[in-house]
Symmetry: C2
Subunit: 134 residues, 2 copies
């Protein structure tokens, strides 16, 4: 496992950038699981919050996404980030969505108590970018 | 000062989403300062790293940006995020750039030891979005 993969896999939160239908960028924090060359995340809200819907609308309009995990430290020699670019698809139920939710529940206690009920976003990673350069 | 403003102002790192000239999203962590209704950040690299250049090229092509600050906690009742959407401009030297760098140096020790030498990105905030809803 490369250092970049290890860092992303261990991160508890990441930042998902998408593009709105009008061409402006959008970014939200997500909890996620890394599954080989894919990242999965779920919409966990019962109430259909506008931010959750926004990310789905964005992906339906532009499937390319960018996902960032990073560490901040006041000692800047200890900073790092890992970015993956990829293409997202939305799974609304089915075996792949169930498997994704299982992976998420493995990682996050609140998801074990209450499985996310909304759509799953699955990102096929096409590029890894990491800083500092390996 | 609203809670959202207080949280953004106190955050040590934020995540800047831009759109590439080809329409794909891009996201990087940044250090920044909040200055009224503006956010400033600087390119601090002497070597012209591709990631630094990428964000400038993106802004030159699409000036709308989105910036996220957030806190993760294993207790999900303690999660929060603040997002500001706005329009970015690039300052290459001059009084406004100097003032921005002064603000950044006030906040970050490494910038006091070595002032960033590259361009300044200044974002005019047009919208605040916060979660949980206030």
């Amino acid at each position: 496992m490369t250092l970049a993969r290890e860092r992303l896999a261990a991160s508890r939160v990441a930042h998902l950038a998408t593009v709105r239908p009008d061409g402006a960028p959008h970014v939200v924090p997500i909890v996620f699981a890394l599954d080989g060359d894919r990242v999965v995340t779920a919409i966990d809200d019962k109430p259909k919050r506008s931010t959750a819907l926004q990310r789905l609308a964005n992906i339906e309009s532009e499937s390319r996404v960018s996902l960032l995990a990073d560490r901040y430290d006041e000692d800047w020699t200890r900073l790092w980030w890992v970015r993956v670019d990829g293409v997202a698809e939305i799974l609304r139920g089915g075996g792949d969505a169930d498997r994704a939710i299982d992976l998420l529940a493995d990682r996050y206690g609140p998801y074990r108590e209450r499985r996310p009920s909304g759509a799953v976003i699955r990102i096929e990673i096409s590029r890894w970018v990491t800083w500092p350069d390996p």
